[in-house]
Amino acid sequence: MGKYIFKRIGYMLVTLFIIATFSFILMKMLPGSPLTAEEKVTEAQRAIIEAKYGLDQPIFVQYLKYLGNLVQGDLGVSFQLKNQPVTDILMAGIPVSAQLGFWALMLGTFFGMLLGLLASIKHNTVFDYAANVISVLGISIPSFIFAGLLQYYVGVKLGWLPIAFWGTPQQMIMPIISLSIFPMAISSRFLRTEMIEVLGSDYMVTAKAKGVSQFSLIFKHALRNALIPLITVMGPMAVSLMTGTLVIEQIFSVPGLGEQFVRGVMTNDFSIIMGTTLLFAFLFIVIILVIDILYGIIDPRIRLAGGDD
């Protein structure tokens, strides 16, 4: 297992290097410059400012410099937020976005599993149909619409929860719920399908015939097997939550990474775009690794490191 993880981390670094290279090249191919008042700056002035930030040098030199700094953990400074180090900007947003995403994923999968479990046990009853309707709504209604409705009815009409911003537990409820709808719907669908399949399999019939209690049957035998595919989808789901937060963060004015990323793209802020891209790539790779490891643990049939352990 240790060897496997070591190897994976090696691959991870290579992947990150490739991503950094490609995004850097793509970034340089974009038209426009990070100057904020582009239309008002004369050619001579533009040349002077670009020289100051090293933007006048050949792309390859800029690239090497960027990589050099990157290895030392220096992501440069933002062009738009004058002189603010990109690392500081990202570090301010990460805990907020992570908190929002983590809770939404937990809440979503928890209730999604409940719903899926209920639907599969009470297969083809009114519970099943209700759970089905909820899942379909959750998948098909975009989270921003749900967020808007929640904000208006719970925040303005009922006045139960604060409308926006981040920090107090009350302020966190609505953004988290809005973001958790999608993972809830997905995991409920997955679990229901898997459970129905597992419950109908031969070994379940055997277990039932042996007199295993209904409770033990479902929670000890069926659920564990039905969870495997769910773990697989949780990786991509976690990543999609990372981007899903952009919209939710905007609606609830949450100071996460979303604002930085969107502003970076809108204003050609190279260093911010590069920083956020690498961060998202890094998170994605780490999540995939964690999922792969968990997968091996939960399903003994899967051997990660080949036959030798």
């Binding site: 920090g167 107090t168 643990i297």
Partner: protein, 565 residues
């Protein structure tokens, strides 16, 4: 067993990461709660004892609080509240003394401006604000090592030697600004600049405390702790890389020289990007002002809280005279007169925007002698007139010897822009027989690039002022202007503008008359077709009074604002 313990380890790690995240946030939770109580208290203020707290939202982070690096509305807004320059714009958009003790003394040739500075103004660290602070800041703004975008833009061609310095061809200390004493500033201009007085109200011309800026180095202005203030308010809790990055607070600066005029104790600002979120926050009393988009205008127009503010931003159609049809004056006039502009502002824009019938907006730079506004003097020059449009159209077609005219039309790709362009196309094709308009909608950058290369027949375009002088609206239509791009040339027009900026540069009334005359020529040529002057619609707490809105620089001035009962 081994595997189970590993699973536990992984879970434990995940949980501890999460706990760390929670722990790290405890402090922000506390400060947020404080903020909340503050705004709730304010929301409940209906009694006679009114708390002087204003709660606002802003659409984006303050990009910089370093005045020499500021380029955008948000930065200039909060610099305007926390810093003080030589002059401020009053409610009539007239520059009035701020740090200056009186109006500038201008030499006969208009080149040397002497400004007396008050001796009772201090920075928030107790240092006096002196003439040297201006010398330091202005030199820093044009110094190529600073890399400022707006420094050279605002000062080149205005302050003596600024251009040479910013191009790295002259020493920084040759800039035309000199501290004669701590309280006397001597500014030397490159050429007489009639609107220089209003430029002195602009954020790029603010002073900076040399000792503090030098000491802070690269950290200067990174957060409210790395700043000094000399204006009506002090910025607190502003840190774009902190836990509460999307909120900041301004508190009254008790050491401000004119603190007696400042009634507000506190201004709380939060970043809110969504219009709907802003409206919701307004309706729960969390904030005192929210901007409205068209769909909300319908809902709130006519209520006590609804308010519109005209901006000094004009939109118009540019006619590229490279096109054989648009080279014909009658055709241009027919097009310009056949658009139902009232319908455009009432139905399509529906945000308080008003019909524009000239090349200079309303409430912008009054006549130096009579004090009358430019628009009031010249009146409506191109209005909708279907009967006349028909005559011009018929005459134009006859001159060209054609029955049908096909024109390209370049517009923006936003929802409103596309609706507007569809409406204008509809108006033109419906009113002018034989005309076909082909609309192309492109993103902003693409439109600017096509504009620069004159790749359009008709273009829906707009302009905001760079300084308080009619020249900012009219010089751009001279044949040598880089912004004109439509192959328009009228020698008489060029001559009037050239005369205004050379021979008449110190004879302000005569100069102003030249501008009035020039605008009439421009409109008689129908070189452009004025469409509308933009307004913004707001939900605005009626108890918030005394806010000044400005046509350039900071959008608002809160120095004299207060919460009425």
């Amino acid at each position: 067993m081994k595997k189970k313990s590993f699973l536990l380890l992984v879970l434990g790690l995940v949980m501890s990461m999460f706990l760390v995240a929670c722990g790290g946030d405890d402090t922000s939770t506390d400060s947020n709660e404080d903020n909340d109580t503050g705004s709730e208290d304010n929301g409940e203020d209906t009694s006679s004892d009114v708390e002087q707290v204003l709660n606002l939202i802003e659409a984006s982070q303050i990009p910089t609080m370093d005045s020499v690096h500021a380029t955008d509305a948000v930065a200039f807004q909060w610099l305007n509240e926390t810093m003080e320059g030589l002059y401020r714009l009053n409610e009539d958009t007239v520059p009035v003394p701020a740090l200056a003790t009186g109006d500038p003394v201008i030499s006969e040739d208009g080149l040397e401006w002497t400004v007396e500075i008050r001796d009772d103004a201090v920075w928030s660290n107790g240092d006096p604000v002196t003439a040297h602070d201006f010398v330091f800041a202005w030199r820093r703004a044009v110094n190529p090592d600073t890399g400022s975008e707006y420094g050279p833009f605002m000062m080149n061609g205005v302050i003596a030697n600024a251009e040479a310095i910013s191009n790295g061809e002259a020493e920084v200390d040759t800039l035309g600004i000199e501290a004669v004493s701590d309280t006397e500033l001597l500014i030397t201009l490159e050429k007489p600049v009639p609107y220089f007085h209003s430029l002195l109200t602009f954020g790029t011309y603010l002073p900076q405390n040399e000792a503090f800026v030098t000491e802070q180095g690269d950290d200067y202005a990174l957060s409210s702790d790395n700043l000094l203030y000399n204006g009506p308010f002090e910025l607190t809790e502003w840190n774009p890389t902190g836990e509460n990055a999307n909120q900041w607070t301004l508190v009254k600066n008790e050491d401000y020289w004119d603190a007696d005029s400042v009634q507000l104790e506190e201004i709380n600002v939060s970043i809110v990007k969504e219009t709907s979120t802003g409206v919701n926050l307004y309706n729960t009393g969390d904030i005192d002002r929210a901007s409205l988009s068209a769909e909300y205008v319908e809902q709130y127009a006519g209520t006590e809280d609804y308010r519109t503010l005209a901006e000094a931003v004009l939109f118009y159609l540019k006619f590229n005279q490279d096109n054989e049809f648009l080279a014909n004056q009658n055709i241009r006039k027919a097009v310009a007169m056949s658009i139902g502009k009232q319908g455009l502002v009432d139905v399509i824009l529906a945000n308080g925007s008003t019909v524009s019938n000239g090349a200079v907006p309303t409430d912008f730079s009054a006549h130096p002698e009579t004090g009358e506004g430019f628009r009031e003097i010249n009146g409506d020059l191109i209005t909708e007139d279907q009967a006349q449009a028909q005559e011009f159209w018929a005459a134009g077609l006859e001159e060209l010897g054609v029955d049908t005219v096909e024109l390209g039309y370049l517009g923006g790709d936003s929802e409103v822009a596309q609706e507007m362009d569809a409406y204008i196309k509809n108006q033109l094709e419906g009113n002018l027989e034989g005309l076909t308009v082909e609309v192309t909608s492109v993103p902003f950058e693409e439109r600017i690039s096509r504009d620069e290369n004159s790749e359009y027949d008709i273009q829906n375009s707009g302009w905001g002022p760079d300084y308080l002088d009619p020249n900012t609206w009219l010089e751009m239509w001279t044949s040598t202007s880089p912004y004109m791009t439509m192959n328009y040339e009228n020698e008489e027009y060029d001559a009037l503008i050239a005369e205004a900026n050379n021979e008449l540069i110190t004879d302000l009334p005569a100069r102003y008359d030249n501008f009035l005359e020039a605008e009439k020529i421009l409109m008689d040529d129908a070189a452009i077709a004025p469409l509308y002057q933009r307004s913004r619609a707001y939900l605005w707490r009626p108890s918030v009074e005394g806010v000044i809105s400005n046509p350039m620089g900071a959008d608002f001035t809160y120095k004299y604002a207060y919460i009425a009962e």
